[in-house]
Symmetry: D2
Subunit: 404 residues, 4 copies
């Protein structure tokens, strides 16, 4: 499979543009991103919500939205038009756009494949599943003569790994141990990691937009480094945690003592259903709490709940209550209610990340692009969670990319 | 009066410490600051709320709280102990501290003077009032053999000047035009400016913690520059505007379009009474709205009300509702409710500013210390309102001061 | 004109059903009510929001929605379909309903007339304007062979009368004084009252859904009584005031002392524009504050603001902050945020009121139907504002109507 | 033990007043009630928060606060003065009252006994524990020559019974089965029920202010009926559920469809610690959810969390988010934040209940006083949860009692 490293070196790559391969291609985020990219190309919508369209990032020489080619994997075969109409009925995207861009949505259906699974590959096990994913990616690159490829995980959140499973930990230590496990008939890679592995096999970049364990497992990251690939992750920062990343530094810089921080999240839709599973929600709550502790400098008491409320659809309401102490022990409070549409917040960031990760790869960067922590709850390769600092790092990256 | 410039040059100054002269010495902020300074000295309270006690500012070599000497002007002759007991009954300060520090409070009463007014100085007019203020400051410096003096305006908010009054504008153009107006029997300086003028006459620094017109008038600023004085202002940023200064940059950096920002402030106490006067409130709402527009890059629609609700006492509750648009025109909202105690938030910042302005003067700085915008709604000499940027500027100042 | 009293007596009336004549027929409320009535008839929507469809009111023998015939006055000639599409774009009504019921909307356009004004009637003055309105109503009744007619004022809010205008007060004392004023060339009736007067002239019922001065003026009410007409008003209770009407009794019944009640209303749309006019808003804030005082038994301190924020469209967000004291003086707070769609809340109540007022007229009631206070901020003929008590009164009326 | 039924018949009772026996006498609620009763007697505080002091209940001829005699059981031997000072430091009661009433608090310590437990009674088991409680109550009555006694459970919440435990269910079926279980060496009564049982043994009334299983168990209720006792319960309605009991009827009466109701409770103090136990919290969440379903007429989706946040002390903040649908399917939201002091809300209601239950007993009532549902989340003997209806029932009771 090493003949695909042309994507990494960029010397032998095609010239047809940058490919975007969505894991979870029919989900709300991917559908909104797809619709949005077409809307922007057709001048039917402006770039609100896209960070890479801000004047401050203008000099970074990023790929134009016209040069993005999209495809992906999804178990669902519902047509994009239907998915988009459903999103319109939930006020995630405007109905007018769906009507105007119906043809583009229909055309996009052809590039979404049902992924191989253990059941479909027969005896080959996880190695065969990965091989099948690799073939799908390689075909996509060739079909469109792509110069680069970015694989983006926007599929359902998966639970974190069981930390007490020592065999699993040993299997996930190095690329070699993963392969040995495969030979022994085990399937050590969690689903999200099979995609990261496959991406690295073809020299593609990888963006982990969910909190699922994937690119940060030692074996997978090492695999990425050996392939000279770039990646960014994980878990897009779109709402309550975004708020925390500006409020916590404010309290710290003003020397106010945060006594407690209670966080309540209400959401519906597919995400709500997934997170109603107590196992899956652990992944999410863990990354949410860690960032706050890192910013405040110690764990902060207070509950963090994520609840599924079906009537919320793709919308999320977060209520946070912060108790804090000021001068001479005076106790005060701050509350906020964030009512946001998760897919509308996430989709433009996904497009931003594709452009930035592709440019970083183009500029010869390998490994985690740590300056992209701005976009994530759990930034790969960085412990900085304050949005202001992350913004400065992002501007620094844009400047570096502009020097290409 | 030029023989007092020793405070500025620092060559002939005393060695007894740094003086703090409160304009509005019996108000809630000054009383809380006084009580707090004594509590910290006596190790009865920790430094929560004091920015200058953060590890990040440790190297700035600021004056110790033990070396501060306080005094001030106030029309009220209510003893500090009584004022502090009232604040305790409103939950602004702990009753235990008031009981423990009663003697220190009693002792402080002697250093608070009733200021001269047009009525008490007889025929001399505003020039005579200023002269009397100068005498009070000079006596205070000599009495305590002070090395430096910082005059801090924490008195009631005054309305902004009438922009259509052309005579007044001409009178306030230069120090000379002020003096000519005095000779012609006019009193061009607003009350807050008479204190700034007097401070500069004795070479003291000046901190404008209220939004009153004072140090930013052309004649007064020029008077300060000629005296080689330092100053900082204006209008302490303690609650709702503090929140704006982290939230507005967040929206901007995420390319989200702020459609409207409605701000409602409920407060009681003396501040509430003052701001119930529609004239006085103009000063406050003007500085509040300007900062938001500067951060967002355009005026943002939405009402801004400040209402007096007597039962709130010294507490303030602010409710803000922000309507914003994301990708493809999706509308979302953020609301917050801030319930804070204004004096408890302001008092430690006043102590911070005294230490920082005194150190800046010591380091040879003159004019507005623009790196102190972190503390203000309407930063003198700067148009930067984003807290993150202001924090970086403050750290830069601390580093510069540390090199003394 | 007395030959139209057949509507009142019911003896000579037609048999074609109950007519609804909207003053402000192209406004958001009337358009939503019209669309909703057609949707319910076509079984395309359920009766959510309609009080008269609750099981508790089943026995009242009200007119079926199929038997309502609508028409009205409006200065705007924008077609209903366009108005409804605009409402759909603001999420007030579902786009699907507008598409499905387009023909019915188009047909309704023919029944909306541009009303006569002082300019169009020439020399005749207000008497001629009223005559023209009467002719329009009479034509409508005859055209559809109506058994009854209910005129509903859902037009823009008008300011309250100037209480210091003594001539005006004298002119509005009796029907005779109004006519004398007309003869003297004056126009004493405010616009909303001309419609009430005209309604009573033809023996129709009148519903004042806005706070405009109309049916409660002495001359107009007397005119109604002499005509044997029924009416209900004023100012539909749909959001914040509805909340007050259950929360204030709760505090009172629990012996908790309400210290302050601050009310902030943000709204856009046509209502927002009208209420941005400080004169018009007085009408609204006056009725809002009076109800609270009546329930608590004394005026309650606290500001009440209504602000126009264009991006809210037809939606309204109200934030209320209630400070209250419990046992031994302990101070507590309640806040609520109501985010409602005014037209969606008002429209079904308008249909409810038409049915109830028509039935009351049918049952021989004359004058203000005081049991309908449940629907209003400023209930005609009643000082009861607590929703629970108003609900009981409504149930009593339903029972009385059921005995017909 | 039947010679104590004099308390019930009132014929042989003493004349010294009405006794109040607190189970959990040193808890926050009992301490606040005790302090408050003394403050009211001494005219140091007004009756805010006491329903029985409202003019509407004036005619009910209730016992004066001067005629109440208090005592109780508690495992804690911390003096009342200390407990009250702690409450003052948490802003539950004013420090000034504690200082002024210190002697009364000290005197009250003597009437609080450490209750018998299985460990202290030796071999006798639960029967012996109950006997010991009975002796304590009887001694209290004799010591103060009481005319009546009301036992009030304000102790920590206990978990509900295990519904799958069939032996337990059989043991709790009748008074006889309880006694048989005792003879067989089992202890079927949950702790709270032992107090109810003992109260009924001496003919006292019982008030269940916690959600613990007690008076509503079949055996215990039957025991109460046989003793001719009166009782009321359970689980005082003081905050979030109080709000629900006015808001849910509002939605229902306005025909608005409640889609979801999310409830979040943050509290500290002893109650917070108890409810941090997932078993104990079940008791509370069950009664909270049932009332809402009863009022809306069906279960309403949405999470209900109760979280312990230590820095809240005796204060509770509840945030509720209600999603509802109006006419034509338009979705709207209501949020509220209630920040209350639980003990300050509960204590006066406890005094109210003592007075009302005593009067009901005096008037010859036996069994659950169903008209007291106004005070409870889980009203004994009633399925009415709407506050308005409960208020009417309470007024009816007051009228009945006034006819004595």
């Amino acid at each position: 499979m090493t003949d695909d490293s042309d994507l990494t070196t960029g010397t032998a790559g095609g010239t047809g543009g940058v490919g975007v391969w969505f894991v979870g291609a029919k989900g709300s985020v991917a559908t909104t991103a797809l619709l949005g990219a077409h809307a922007l190309r057709a001048r039917l919508a402006g770039p609100t919500g896209m960070v890479t369209e801000l004047p401050a990032l203008e000099g970074a020489h990023l790929v134009g939205l016209d040069d993005l080619v999209t495809g992906g994997h999804d178990l669902s075969e519902v047509p994009y038009r239907k998915r988009a109409e459903l999103l319109a009925s939930q006020r995630v995207v405007p109905r007018e756009l769906v009507d105007a861009l119906g043809d583009a949505l229909d055309a996009a259906d052809a590039e979404v494949l049902v992924p191989a699974t253990a059941a479909t590959v027969g005896e080959g096990g996880q190695a065969a599943v990965v091989d099948a994913l690799v073939r799908d990616l390689r075909d996509f690159v060739r079909r469109h003569d792509l110069a680069r490829l970015v694989v983006v995980d926007v599929s359902s959140t998966q639970p974190p790994l069981d930390p007490s499973d020592e065999t699993l930990a040993a299997d996930l230590a190095t690329p070699e141990s993963v392969r040995s496990a495969w030979e022994a008939g085990r399937s050590p890679l969690p689903l999200s990691a099979t995609y990261a592995w496959a991406a690295f096999e073809v020299g593609a970049s990888f963006v982990a937009f969910t909190p699922s364990p994937g690119v940060d497992l030692p074996a997978v990251a090492e695999q990425g480094r050996r392939a000279g690939a770039t990646w960014a992750g994980s878990d897009g920062k779109t709402g309550e945690t975004l708020m925390k990343s500006v409020l916590a530094p404010m309290f710290v810089q003003r020397a106010l003592h945060v006594d407690s921080w209670a966080s309540f999240n209400l959401l519906g839709g597919g995400d709500g259903q997934t997170l109603a599973d107590p196992e899956a929600v652990r992944s999410k709550t863990a990354t949410k709490a860690a960032g706050l502790a890192a910013m405040v400098g110690r764990p902060v008491p207070g509950p963090l709940h994520i609840d599924n409320v079906p009537d919320f659809g793709d919308w999320k309401t977060a209520w946070d209550h912060i108790g804090f102490t000021g001068f001479l022990g005076t106790r005060m409070t701050l509350q906020f209610t964030w009512a946001g549409c998760d897919s509308a917040l996430a989709a433009p960031l996904v497009l931003d990340l594709v452009r930035l990760v592709a440019a970083a790869a183009e500029a010869g960067r390998t490994g985690a692009v740590t300056e992209l922590g701005f976009f994530f709850k759990n930034p790969s390769g960085s412990d900085e969670h304050a949005l202001g600092e992350q913004w400065r790092a992002l501007l620094g990256l844009a400047e570096e990319l502009g020097r290409r």
